[in-house]
Point group: C2
Chain length 215, copies 2
Amino acid sequence: MSRKKAPKSVVKRLPVYLRILDNLIRRDVEIISSRVLSDETGFTAEQIRKDLAYFGAFGTRGTGYNTSYLREKLLRIIGLDKQTKIIVIGFGHLGKALTRYNMNKNPYVKIVGAFDNDPNELHTDIEGLQVYSMDKLSEVIQKEDVKVAILTVPAEVAQQVVDILVENGITAILNFAPTKLHTPEGVYVHNADLTIELQSLIYYSQEDEGRALKE
Amino acid sequence: MSRKKAPKSVVKRLPVYLRILDNLIRRDVEIISSRVLSDETGFTAEQIRKDLAYFGAFGTRGTGYNTSYLREKLLRIIGLDKQTKIIVIGFGHLGKALTRYNMNKNPYVKIVGAFDNDPNELHTDIEGLQVYSMDKLSEVIQKEDVKVAILTVPAEVAQQVVDILVENGITAILNFAPTKLHTPEGVYVHNADLTIELQSLIYYSQEDEGRALKE
DNA sequence: CATTGTGAACGGATTCACAGCC
DNA sequence: GGCTGTGAATCCGTTCACAATG
């Protein structure tokens, strides 16, 4: 029962499996093999089986996986079986877009508040969303017992915002600010710096040019 | 001179080094050691030296790296020494936010066009940006010789858009659509699915709760 | 007998340790 | 003396191969 802690690479694939399962269930598919999951995801069948094995044995030998059962298990593993409260800090264009995106597409999370310093951003046309000024941050995090934050503030203020988040019990941060955040052990930061993603993409776009010249 | 191809993990770190160097140069720092770079980035000093070694020997033993020189080298390596033309396909909230973000923060790229099917999105208040209807896609890619695309269209139409992109010579795609894209060899796709990022973050937010209970 | 679950082999990336050089 | 550059050792994730089983 005491399994090894799943590596990050595995955890990153779990939501992909979940999405495929949602699609399959919508199409009334009840059983799925690791081979077909492999076709749908692009990961190898062995890898999928190994990934799931970190958390238990969910399949039936000779048959495959029951889509609904596996979905339930994945929801529980990822932590989406109960709705997760999140906050968005920085309510500029990117913060607004991410908020809308999640309210529309992600039934598993609930955005319980957005925060900005600019008074012009303190109202919104997004239905059912409360926008607060930054000085309400501690209060809301504690009252709502929020653990997850999306950060889209300018790099210059990111660290001081993070210090407040950590102080008030946030344990996971999705960071869009282009800067390294310093956090204590136990607080997980995932950097989603779009400039960096785009720049590494450019590396590959020209690499192929180079290859084209050679061949 | 014939070095091994740099692995993805290395390429993802290069833009981080570049950003740190930009900051250092702005503060008139002229020399930097791998140790200090390590403090700034969170990567180990050995790793930084190994990363750079994939592309050449840019430092001075006993001294460190000249910030301006290393920056020039990195720009060349990543492919940012000449301005890269990119297009944004899907000009909803996310597409608009990403466009604005890049026009403001990323001097190395130039967005030469945005595309959307919805006629309501075909105008914009973003200065100097041309918004086209989707049927102009092939024409613009070819005329401007674009190689890099940011994709923020709905998942249902993503693959058919990608087929057009590939057909017209796009070689690198930053994909925000929550779906697996099928592309031929030589076309690089980087998935930046925000739902998946957020869901794996939630995994870690609860993992820490579990730990707290145990200890 | 098809498909899962998993120990063993493999390979790629990181860390170590130190030689090379300013 | 101090810091880079790099072969060797190690670590970790993926792939292989097959035993287990409905």
